[in-house]
Subunit: 407 residues, 2 copies
């Protein structure tokens, strides 16, 4: 089997041959803040693309526009233009006009006669400041290059309340050729599967048709971005896009081994970005890996994981380093999948808190120690079947409330 490895120090999209990137500031928030807020990346030749999008009924204009561009272009695009600071959501027909205009402006500014996908993230309900956007796209088009710094600028420009840049790269060797999958993402608030105000952009130098990309990005997202939760709020703009430009000269589906390695590489990049999103969630102090197993179905396991992972009482107790397993049991019970108390086990890392419904009080000091760590695992085993689910979640701090009480 081909070994696929995550690179320790990712340079983001610049790691992937055949893509140029840029990030600039154009004051999209209209506050005079000099922060970077517009990112652009371009493939040297038109690339295949596919995406997964928010399932929210209230869908931002760029989500509609991305879907339309992919359909109209036969999934062949030049790259993507992204702004932060304004979500272009709940902006009506003007929002649609402005989002389409972003694509048109980018084609003009870059001189590339192939459509660009368009993404936005930020405040809901305000019209885009189009003259700033126009200036930003013009500046970014001039700065496009293959340097890591440009790729970092792009990764910085898509952030909102994130505190850290999120990039990841995986590589593998296939018949003497190095193949790269790299990506960048933003997260922070409104993080809950299906997706969250979460944007992720993954590029590869493999050649792949869009049907294959669609299935790979869907599968990887389901296993990674859709299994994280910070605050349970699903956003209007969530988008994961996968681009393939064929710069390495090899087609992804020419062998089962290659395809498997590609899927693994996309999974590793998405998984790394997803974990970075939770770890940098708004005012998160702890990362919790929640494993639910022994359920009758996967769907049951997911229900329990989401009930527990989104419970305010559970999350605040993690924040307080309080090994309050009673709140875990309560939340697992209100998922209402038919949990049998007398079969129910709870573990903090590998230390039992509850076995067959009986508290293991002698372990109390160990639970306390584990729940005081920055990252720990909780396993809930219903012992009623083979269904399981893993959710990466976080605590809830006073600082989260303070941070979100106004915008």
């Amino acid at each position: 089997m081909t070994t696929v490895e995550l690179i320790e120090t990712s340079g983001g999209i610049a790691d992937c041959p055949g893509y140029k990137t840029a990030g600039v500031g154009c004051d999209i928030r209209e506050t005079g803040d000099p922060r970077l807020d517009l990112a652009l990346f371009v493939s040297e030749s038109p690339c295949s693309a596919a995406g997964v999008f928010t399932l929210n009924d209230v869908c931002a204009a760029p989500v509609h526009i991305c879907k339309a561009i992919l359909a109209e272009s036969g999934n062949k695009v030049a790259g993507c233009v992204i702004n932060s600071g304004n979500a272009n959501a709940c902006t009506g027909t003007q929002g649609m006009v402005d989002g389409k205009e972003m694509n048109a402006i980018t084609q003009l500014a870059t001189g590339i006669n192939t459509p660009f996908l368009v993404c936005s993230t930020g405040r809901i309900g305000r019209q885009l400041p189009m003259s700033n956007i126009k200036a930003g796209i013009a500046a970014a088009s001039q700065k496009l290059d293959t340097e890591t710094q440009s790729s970092f600028d792009a990764a910085d420009a898509i952030l909102t309340s994130d505190t850290r840049r999120k990039v990841a790269t995986a590589r593998f060797n296939y018949e003497g050729t190095t193949i790269t999958v790299s990506g960048m993402a933003k997260g922070a608030g409104m993080i809950e599967p299906n997706m969250a105000t979460m944007l992720a952009f993954v590029t590869t130098d493999l050649e792949a048709d869009s049907d294959l990309l669609k299935s790979v990005v869907k599968q990887a997202s389901d296993l990674t971005f859709n299994r994280i939760s910070i605050d349970g709020d699903m956003s209007t703009n969530d988008t994961v896009l996968l681009f393939a430009n064929g710069a390495c000269g090899i087609k992804a589906d020419t062998s089962p081994e290659l395809l498997e390695a590609f899927q693994q590489a996309v999974f590793l990049v998405c998984d790394d970005l997803a974990e970075k999103i939770v770890g940098d969630g708004e005012k998160v102090t702890k990362l919790v890996e929640l494993i639910v197993e022994g359920c009758q179905t996967t769907a049951d396991a997911e229900k329990i994981a989401r009930a527990v992972g989104n419970s305010l009482l559970v999350k605040t107790s993690w924040y307080g380093s309080d090994p309050n397993w009673g709140r875990l049991a309560d939340a697992a019970g209100y998922a209402r999948v038919g949990l049998k108390e007398e079969c129910f086990d709870i573990y903090y890392d590998t230390v039992a808190a509850l076995i067959s419904g009986r508290p293991q009080d002698s372990n109390l000091s160990k639970w306390k120690e584990i729940v005081s760590k920055k990252r720990f695992r909780i396993t809930l085993n219903l012992n009623q079947g083979a269904g399981q689910y893993r959710l990466l979640t976080s605590d809830l701090s006073e600082a989260y409330v303070d941070f979100n009480k106004s915008e």
Copy 2:
């Protein structure tokens, strides 16, 4: 139509003829705290009773025991004994033994050879301190009387993190006889319909068979206690019990007019107690009445109300007096009932924030004023049907997180 009125200054269960009450402290928390933590009330003659209980898969011992006692006794009971400080939940077979023992001890101590219902609230996962419980029941049995102070002691003894006693009384006149419905409740944390760590006890001096009581308590709970939410956590112990002792000499179902007045009185008492529970939610600073209308079905309206009312981003913005309607729209959208953005209206009290999907920015200062109040109303109208739902909810404060980070 008979006029049913809520009494301005309720004395709790003492307002209802034929019931005696007591509240004592017996250190159930085993911390030496002198607070009242055991309540007892007794009907002068065996009374009919019916209840609605938590739907949580993890169900506390007293919930199982209440159901069994009602079934075995033909719904005829002497009254109820309640402790706070310990939920007797996740306590296995010992918990069942102890809960049943509470009934037996109470019968012995009062000399009444009719079963008592048993309720507990407090910390999950600890065995009841039975010697303290025994001492408490003995003391309470000695103190039983019809005075308001005893009724207040009982109402105080059932509280956990509540800051205020919650009592309510409704009265009406039927053919020259005054009929009373009175009650007491506790709430504070884990408040979410179906029910929440929420106990409520409602008494009447009407005579009624248990089938009628069942339907009346179910209907009233659905319209009141099941339509409040503080933190979205459903508890293991939630119970609403309705008792009828017939002390007024009139049977509830002898006329449609009487029955309607009785239903209305129970509704008013439950509604008042429910509002008091939300108003005294853990570290709540604002009470928000959320009206969702224009949905295709009631179920759709409820989904939106719960998504919005439980959204952390929405609740923190209320706390910060930030009229962030974008978060309302986002949460309404992820309820995924097929909301059409172009038909969607949002109002703060009577002031429009969004009409047909278009922001009404000129009203911004008015929204700000409304969301700064201690109590306000938000109306979401989908304009897609006749389904509607009302949810009473609250903001989320930093103090909530601080309060719940350890127990």
